[in-house]
């Protein structure tokens, strides 16, 4: 609640804090359900539909329950030119993803195929949780996946 109030306080209008508030809610609740949307709408004094329309418009808000780690694999342009498709095949095998599902049975991984993430010099590249990885080879993918803990992957700033 303190975080919510400090977020809202940064903006001239309460509604402007909606994107950051949804980011916050996604971290706090793991899944933004219709109940969470209503809760946010209530807090921000918005009609629930205004929250729902924003929640569904942006791709970074997860619409379904996700695995412990969310892997976003880029499929656009430079990543496509440099073999994103074969990385996808390898990655699916590595994490045990099959039958067209996007989340592994053990609930450890969710794989999203996404458009350009602005790291074309790392092509083919992916983001796991908050961290960018690339250029990927099958061997590197194995090492990255094997090296993950239960904590979200994040960049170190040094």
């Amino acid at each position: 609640m303190t975080k919510f109030k400090s977020l809202v306080g940064q903006y001239e209008e309460t509604r402007a804090a909606l994107l950051p508030v949804l980011h916050l809610a996604q971290r706090a609740f793991a899944q933004i359900t219709p109940e969470v949307e209503e809760y946010i709408a209530d807090l921000m004094q918005l009609p629930p539909v205004k929250v729902h329309e924003v929640f569904t418009f942006y791709t970074l808000y997860r619409k379904k329950p996700s695995g412990k780690h969310v892997i976003r694999l880029c499929k656009t342009l430079s990543c496509h030119l440099l073999g994103a498709e074969s990385i996808r095949e390898h990655l699916c095998k590595k994490i045990g993803l099959h039958n067209g599902s996007d989340t592994t049975e053990d609930g450890r991984f969710t794989l999203e195929l996404v458009e350009c993430m602005g790291a074309c010099e790392l092509a083919p590249m992916m983001q796991i949780d908050e961290r960018y990885y690339g250029p990927l080879t099958p061997e590197k993918v194995d090492a990255i996946i094997d090296g993950l803990t239960d904590e979200p992957a994040a960049d170190e700033v040094n």
Binding site: E12, H23, L77, H80, C120, R131
Partner: protein, 424 residues
Amino acid sequence: MPEKILTKHFDVPGFRELGVYRQHGGYAAVEKALGMEPAAIQDEIKRANLVGLGGAGFPAGVKWGFVPQNTPKPKYLVVNGDEGEPATFKDRYLLEYAPHQLIEGMIICSYVVGIHKAYVYVRGEYVKQINILRHAVEEAKAENLLGENILGSGFHLDVVVHQGAGAYICGEETGLIESLEGKKGWPRIKPPFFPAAIGLFQCPTVINNVETLSHVPHIVNNGAEWFASLGTEKNGGTRVFAVSGHVRKPGIYELPIGTPLREIIYEHAGGVRDDRPVKAVIPGGSSSPVLTADQLDTNMDFISLRNAGTMGGSGGVVVMDDTTCMVDICANISNFYAHESCGQCTPCREGTSWASKILNRILEGAGRMEDIDEAIRICRNMMGRTVCLLADGAAMPILSYLTKFRREFEYHVENSECDVKKSH
């Protein structure tokens, strides 16, 4: 080596920290600017020929001048760091390696225009860069470079770093403003063509790209003539080109804005992998029409590229060698626009999605010969008929592949296979 401005100190350890930044002359421009008349600074920016480096190439000083001076409303600065154009990754580096350079440019711009609140909109995936920038804002506040009475000048400025949530359309400046207001990123109807008078919260707003503002302190320090002399007649200074694809050394290269494409590929990006020949090059992000191998001597400033039938766009260069299937790349690009069309305007929503369906059908070997002209017709019907330029940005490149490499599309239709892939 040509003179670097923005990336000059990128290899200095800790350059993103305020102390190290100051050791290398950081914030001298703010000190200088706060002692100058705002109009004099704006004149420097105009004479420097600094243009908008997000994609439009519009003179930055002129854009600042559109903001009404005598208004009772608050004014805002919005920094566009919603870098989403495929092939573009320069702002990621500028935010990560030189956040104070951007903040310095923001302070000067705000001082010139009379702004006291600035927002930096950074794409949601750039978590690392957002954290770095927020840390830099806190450092600047602690040393009285932001907040009240900056360096005793009486001028005040607050900065908020705002995380986006994944939508290409929010790179369009009015879509970005809508998004910053907590709405879906639907671009606003034009006119007004600039949010200068009616922008964020319906108030006067300056919106500039990260790279554009990062140049500002250097112009204040070294003068308009110096900056203008590094560029071409109408486009001053350097540009951070982001090079990727089939080159040996993909990465960012800051070069004079009019550098020939051939030099960027062969002298800076290490040439093409396995010494293969270039087949085609995207010169300014995925929205720019593709150039063919005989156009490598084109200079990379906005005007030369326009004369070559394409555009400078976001400065994202993608090099494709002779193993590249143009049907495949065209379909890939069309998928992007079909996904990213915001859905507001029918010609774009329907056009991008039908173009993508038809191009994928040709790619998969199920196309008909009339599909090629049908895709061309769809693209032509999208252009100029929508609220924003996403439709044009989708149609222009698709048309360029269909017309410049038509034979490859015909081969796919006739033979249900790819002759490029077959021969390599």
